[in-house]
Amino acid sequence: MQAFFAIDLHDRRESISFFMMRLLIATAFLTCLAFAQGEPLRVASLSTVMADLARDIGAERVEVTEIVKPGVDPHIYEPTPGDRKTIAKSQILLASGLGFEGYLDKLRPSLEKAGVRLVVGGDVVKPIEAACEGHADHDHAHSHGSADPHWWHSISNVQAVAAQICDAFVAADPAGKATYEANAKKLQSRLAVLSKWVRLQLAALPKANRVLVTSHEALGYFATDNGFEIFAVQGVSTSDQPSSQKMKRLIGEIKARNVRAIFAENIENPKVLEQITNETGAKLGGVLYADGLGNGPAATYEGMMKTNVSTIVEALK
């Protein structure tokens, strides 16, 4: 009996030491893996949409810092000294381009100096011309080019930018190539599904009702893709101010076309639109996310598109 217990105790000691050994090896392996993977790729973003794409493609291999946060008006945003420091510490900076970030040219020299790679979404999209009315009757001091910078309202543009971000990540972190490409492929499939969802929702909307009256000219790409006509109170930038003549023309157009609803935007004061609804009898159709992502259901690109499309269909149907 004593001999039996002695053997049992010996076996137990052996099995405990074997278990400890295995735990040590596993810990060492995981530590090596973590070191091999290294620090995450530091990505700063001036675009809420591109930040969302970067998070999807980079997953755990990237650390995305949003310089311009959801709900902030990017048209009037200027980077603070703290933002400039964050950008200088990053390896990649994402920007919408096409004149959306008026300060981008000023940033370029410091980016080159700090070795930050600049990825501009507007470089790979198919731009449409900005329909900026009233050059003669308003102070046109805002900074934008002749192309409409709100390219993310076309899903095909977002697909092109997703591929561009994937390429930039692979170039900066070749070890993560397989991860980035696999994630980008999944994202492209989701964007294709989203594109079909949008078309199915809009099919319920008669063509005659496809008139969008919004705060500013931000949904041009959406209009081009889906056969809408746009009437905006302001121009392509939120800093554009409508003249009284333009307001009169707009009110006349809304009445003549029997427009059912007009839309406010998440980052603007809808008072002017309320005034138009009072004069035309059109209802306030809801809030659209025009200049980037919002909060809640519109916190992701897919969520933002779904929220906008549902709001439009519900109000104009």
Binding site: K196, A203, A204, P206, K207, A208
Partner: protein, 140 residues
Amino acid sequence: MRGFPLLRLFLVGAGLVLLGAPVCLLTQPLPSSPPLASALIEPERLAVYEVLLTASAAARLTIRVANQPSVQSSVPVTSLTASFTMNAAEPEDLAVFGNFDPTAGNSALRVEVRLAGKTLAEATFWGTGLVEDVVTLPKP
């Protein structure tokens, strides 16, 4: 009663309101419902579009057009035909659905749209279970 002119005035006023109410109700304009798109279109611009859905296997088929009642098969079928009268200058998009047996694997849904006997658009959509898509018709 004779001694209360204010009461008499009130009773006369109430009587006039009671008499005037039905007249007012009968003569006030009715709230108008939004007219159907086809009602606003000149008759010479209207055209009849024939839509033919063909499925690779029996499925519940549906065709939806904005502002018109959707056409759907009540039982699984392999084809469905429907006609829609639309503005030829700006025809509506067609949403087509084929609800296949998900265990049947990859299924196909073919759409053909004819105008005056000529094929105007055709497309084939693939998928498993619910196959759905939109056909945009060309403008003349």
